[in-house]
Amino acid sequence: MDLQTMTYLVVGATFALYIWIAIKARAGSTGEFYVAGKGVHPVLNGMATGADWMSAASFISMAGMIAFGGYDASVFLMGWTGGYCLLAMLLAPYLRKYGKFTVPAFIGDRYYSSTARVVAVICLITASLTYVIGQMKGIGVAFSRFLEMPYEYGLLVGMIIVFIYAVMGGMKGITYTQIAQYCVLIFAYTVPAVFISLQLTGNPVPQLGLGAQLNDGSNMFLLDKLNQVLVELGFNNYTSQHGSTLNIFLYTMTLMIGTAGLPHVITRFFTVPKVKDARSSVGWSLVFIALLYTTAPAVGAMARFNLLETIRPTSTAQAAQQTPTGQWLKVEERPVWFKNWEKTGLLKFEDKNGDGRIQYVGPDYKGAENEMVTVDRDIMVLANPEIAHLPNWVIALVAAGGIAAALSTAAGLLLAISSSISHDLLKGIVAKNMSDKGELMAGRIAMAGAIVVAGYFGLNPPGFAAQVVALAFGLAASSIFPALMMGIFVKRINKAGAIAGMLAGLSVTLVYIFWFKGWFFMPGTEMAKNVAENWLLGISPEAFGTIGALVNFAVAYAVSSITPPPPEHIQHLVEDIRVPGMVMR
């Protein structure tokens, strides 16, 4: 069977599964719509969280970022997993105990202020919406590459699928669909990795294969060989650090506290029955996430290795460098996958010296110019099975996995947006005596609206789509996380302190990002060029959320200490959420 038919079959089968689940798991009440009736088993919730968390970026882009960043890309691996420790120990169990439906609801109650609640809603919608746009784009790209369908149609199909199960089932439908999507995506990610690890090292476990010897007879370790080849070709050494230590440190921290502060992740732990379950469910989420996150470094390194081996001369020793026309890949001998990806524009070469061969070398290489003008990092995962000559069904599976990752994250984010509109803004502030049925309808309409808005931006992606992801983490890290953490751990923080802290943290982070990336990302409005020399102490805009969070903590503390303490019932509320059971007074 040819690849395209196979892909249609596999992707079609997964869609049929998602819709079947949606029909089985319709939401009948607001409790089911917002938090799946608080009846999800902690292990299943962990799986759903895994799918919710791992987006198109994790599935498609992360291994590519590692492949080209080497050690320095560890910030994503540590940052996007370490945040779950903070979530488990500092937030999830307490917020579950509080027992409300949304994150802004907690902030509004704890700081006895509608203003605080509205500030939280604005942070939430900005962070989530920017994220959804990226997912929509991912869906469109996956469809257009694998099903050779125009981008717009692919996007439309994706929107309809999300619409069916998210609007109908709310959190309940989304949860059970996400469980299925997790299975699809983890299978799709690990199967090619196992095959490639076997081919290169003879070890079926990619996590071990990355540290193992090559089975090409050289008995060299994969990482040693990769380092050697990269350095000989004038690239950076793979396993050692190149960026500034301070920046790597703060970048990791920003991603960690940003992860713990992202509302669509926090909300997932409102769906389990008990506080005890919230604690263990974070652990299960991390297990399911770690399966992919520990495989990704192997995929990245092995894909980079395979790519280099395809193009470079069989010997890159000093002797071969002196005669660079030696054995580089001939233009007419390019493999089929190479030509396929050229069509997408993500892979491009130019025979600059006209020798009929392709030189792929780094900036430090003497004697030849780099002729691989474009090697998009996103193709590392998608092209990997083709580079390794894996069977068609594996390639079809990767397509279905990428789409599952994008769909599941989009649905989770859309729910966070719609519930903050219908529950926090409408029911909480505008129309306090709305009936349960009316609120459920409002939630569904808000969800449909959010899908249309996200789809619109997916069709007309703003030029800054990639940069706004940094904004999402910066926002969550500098505003939402500190407000939640202090709300639980520091009784003395009052309304004035929390609002001042959130606004201070938020504006410091925003100004720093806009300073280097342009006000509201408008091109030409940046105040200084976005290069390491201009950054404050060498801190990149993406890494600045940690500083914003520190400002938030400091301002909140200072303002609270010079204004009256929170009223007694708020102090009791804090005491209540600190223990899982009933409080005796």
Partner: protein
């Protein structure tokens, strides 16, 4: 707050601080600050140790930490009689 719930909260804080110390050590310590130093040691075959902590070891440690915390907290809940139901 009664004495008992104060003692419970203090025990909780101690546990969290202990866990976060390990959390910091495996990621920011071994994975970042000490990584260049640790890279001269190789484990599991060809992994430089600092690189391994940054791309593998820290993640495994996080998983263990979260379950350890959950287990100890559940014991603490029972000890102080504050568990649900």
């Amino acid at each position: 707050m009664s004495n008992d719930s104060q003692a419970y909260w203090q025990a909780n804080i101690r546990l969290v601080l202990g866990c976060l110390a390990v959390w910091f050590l495996v990621s920011y310590g071994c994975g970042i600050l000490l990584a260049p130093l640790l890279n001269s040691i190789h484990i599991l075959g060809g992994y430089p140790l600092g690189f391994w902590f940054a791309q593998q070891g820290s993640i495994y440690s996080f998983v263990i930490l979260v379950f350890f915390y959950a287990w100890r907290m559940n014991k603490l809940d029972k000890k102080f009689g504050v568990q649900e139901d």
